[in-house]
Amino acid sequence: MSTLLEQKCPCCGGAVEFDVGVQKLKCPFCDTEFDITAMPQEETNTVEQVNWNSQGTQWGAGETDGMSVYACKSCGGEIVADAATGATSCPYCGNQVVMKGQFSGAYRPDLIIPFKLDKKAAKEAFKKHLSGKKFTPKGFLDDNKLDEIKGIYVPYWLFSCDAYAQMTFFGEKKTTWSDSNYHYTKTDTYDVYREGSVSFDNVPVDASQKIDDKLMESIEPFNISQAVDFNTAYLAGYVADKFDVDVNDCMGRANQRIGQSVLDSFKHETVKGYDDVGGERVNALNVTNGFYKYALLPVWLVNTKWNGQTYTYAMNGQTGKFVGNIPTDENKVKRIGGLCGAGAGLLLYGIAWLIELLGWL
């Protein structure tokens, strides 16, 4: 059983939280602010940078799917959390707790981007996201849900590498001319070969099973340059999960995205002077100097149910980008589209009559 870590205010003993506005730890009871570095540290651990290809030291295999039981330090209540939960609030007394072992040793994140936008901003963004969408079913926008917005640090694997590729394309050059009887088109076809490398930094892949990957990709990009070294103090006040998708499983997605990017940059930046380029084939794609980092990135999340389906909304806690699918009232779409369109048609017919009457047709 892991022990829980609570950040206690040295002045009044209350539980401190990370305050977005000042980017420091702040005690909500006595308003004292503390620098991150002032709080007692967790043991640090150097993070190994592993070369992909060499398949060196493995990070731990996927966790067991069991649940763990923790005892709240403030009230003693038993908290049942799944294996991935790293920080949460106690359901009994509301205090923020951090499950110590989740972020130590092999599981210690390399980087963390602290929240730059607070809950208020998140609620505003949510409201704005829902406004102006004419075909949302009635009753969907409900103020209750706004309060349920949670700030959560999502675990990510960040992949950096040099990608080396060999590609072939077909290039076509066209010339046209005509004489009195024919139009001529001459097509010259070329075999195009390109070989080179592109470098990538911090391609993110969502390392949490619970959270939808597509949703996380939609709130990209995060500005990794603003990331700082990890410190558990940042977690105070937010929910955090540790990774439960193995890095090797995430690698596949990273390779996919990197591969596509390499293709795009080669095709658009190196193949020039043709009227048409197609038939691209990747003959080789190698990743060298690859390494990955484990990072916690800030996201505001809220779930809502409608008509038996769950809709999740996310906001990038650093940039404020808000995404999430909103259900559409299909009937309303068809009704309004059809009726307004038909009405416009009727109007046009009336106008045609008017023109005819005035004798201009």
Partner: protein, 419 residues
């Protein structure tokens, strides 16, 4: 916007008699003091008109008994400007009070300023009566005119600064000209030469025709004949329309119904001729429909009924109407477009998409090309024959509206029916 042009032309059709009978102008003889009787004046007037029509020379004879008129030459000049617009004119004034004579000539009329004019004066003088004298005067003038023909030019109002061109072509008796000269219509919209309907029926029908013409700016005419003068019913109808100046406006828009009733039990025929806008509005199908609707009445000999059906059908055609097909089209297209728009708007609800590339994460400037080649493989030339223009239809591009060219060179739409 009609320009009023006084045109003198030679007509083949015998209708010139009708025209001359109805017109009773006294341009040619001026008898203010009653020296001649009115019937004498009329007869001389007719003679002079005939000369004008035939040879293009306008003779004006003023016979006055007025002590206040001292300058007969001036009087002649004033008479010219007052009474005619002719460009080839000779005016002769005899003031019996003073015994003086004066003349004024214009254009070809100037031929009489010399010896020729003296001849005319002599023959006038020799005659004992005024009537006989003037008659002889005209006869002599006619002879001179015959020997010195001028082209029968349309007599235009002289416009300031315009070049007076006396040599414009006019349609001759048999040859069609290259440019058709439009005529002012002097005949009514209803010409019942074959006497198929009663006078009362004529009045009502004529009123309908004129009302239609005014309302729709399109002349509608009904003509009945018992003699086609050797032409086909199409030729006759088209020519009647063209040479009598039927048609509204600059383009002569209109339609004409011609009924041929030979009278001796022979085959009767009907023909509808259309021109310009008339041809556009009353296209093939519509004319055929008109014919079929009139058929029963025509066969039965109830011409008044047939003509009224004709006008009814014409009214119906000219009514402003947008085919209801368009209603369906507009509504359908509108609904589809509306649906597309709202679907597009609704799709904004969906903001979650996978990012299949890592373009945001590629390091700027890190693209290094190590090796490359562009090898020419093959070439292929394709040739596509150019579309040739098809010969354009001779009668118009729309199959629904066929036209033919009549003897005047203008194109008419036409449908005929025997009954």
């Amino acid at each position: 916007m009609k320009k009023i042009i006084a045109i003198v032309i030679t007509l083949v059709l015998c209708l010139s008699c009708v025209v001359s009978a109805s017109a009773a102008t006294n341009t040619y003889i001026h008898n203010p003091d009653g020296i001649l009787t009115s019937s004498e004046a009329d007869e001389l007037s007719n003679y002079a008109r005939m000369i004008e029509r035939t040879y293009g020379y306008t003779f004006i004879f003023c016979l006055i008994e007025d002590s206040s008129v001292t300058d007969t030459t001036e009087y002649s000049e004033e008479a010219y400007y007052s009474y005619t617009d002719s460009k080839n004119c000779y005016v002769f004034t005899h003031n019996t009070e003073t015994g003086k004579c004066g003349t004024f000539s214009v254009g070809a009329g100037e031929i009489f300023d010399g010896a020729e004019g003296d001849t005319l004066f002599d023959v006038y003088n020799e005659n004992e009566s005024y009537f006989g004298g003037i008659e002889a005067f005209f006869a002599a003038g006619e002879m001179v005119a015959e020997k010195n023909p001028i082209s029968n030019a349309p007599q235009n109002i002289p416009t300031v600064g315009a070049t007076e061109d006396d040599t414009t072509e006019a349609p001759e008796e048999t040859e069609p000209t290259t440019e058709f000269q439009r005529v002012e219509r002097t005949l009514p919209l209803l010409v019942d030469n074959a006497d198929l309907i009663s006078a009362d029926e004529e009045t009502t029908l004529l009123a309908r025709l004129e009302a239609f013409t005014e309302k729709h700016e399109m002349e509608i005419a009904v003509v009945t004949v018992s003699d086609l003068e050797g032409k086909t019913v199409e030729e006759y109808g088209d020519d009647f329309y063209d040479y009598n100046g039927y048609g509204y406006g600059e383009d002569d828009d209109g339609l004409l119904l011609l009924i041929y009733e030979p009278g001796d039990g022979g085959e009767r025929e009907a023909y509808i001729s259309t021109h310009a806008d008339g041809a556009y509005e009353f296209y093939d199908a519509i004319r055929e429909d008109m014919m079929l609707s009139m058929r029963d009445s025509l066969v039965a000999g109830d011409y008044a009924a047939a003509f009224n059906i004709f006008v009814d059908k014409a009214e119906e055609t000219m009514k402003p109407n947008v085919s209801p097909i368009w209603l369906f089209v507009f509504v359908l297209v509108g609904a589809v477009v509306g649906l597309l728009i709202t679907t597009g708007m609704a799709s904004k609800n969906y903001s979650v998409h996978a990012h299949d590339d890592a373009n945001l994460y590629s390091r700027a400037g890190s693209l290094k090309l190590m090796n490359y080649y562009d090898n020419f493989m093959n070439t292929h030339t394709q040739k596509v024959p150019k579309a040739k223009d098809n010969d354009s239809d001779s009668g118009g591009s729309r199959t629904r509206s066929s036209t033919h060219t009549s003897s005047s060179g203008r194109s008419h739409g036409g449908t005929s029916m025997k009954f």
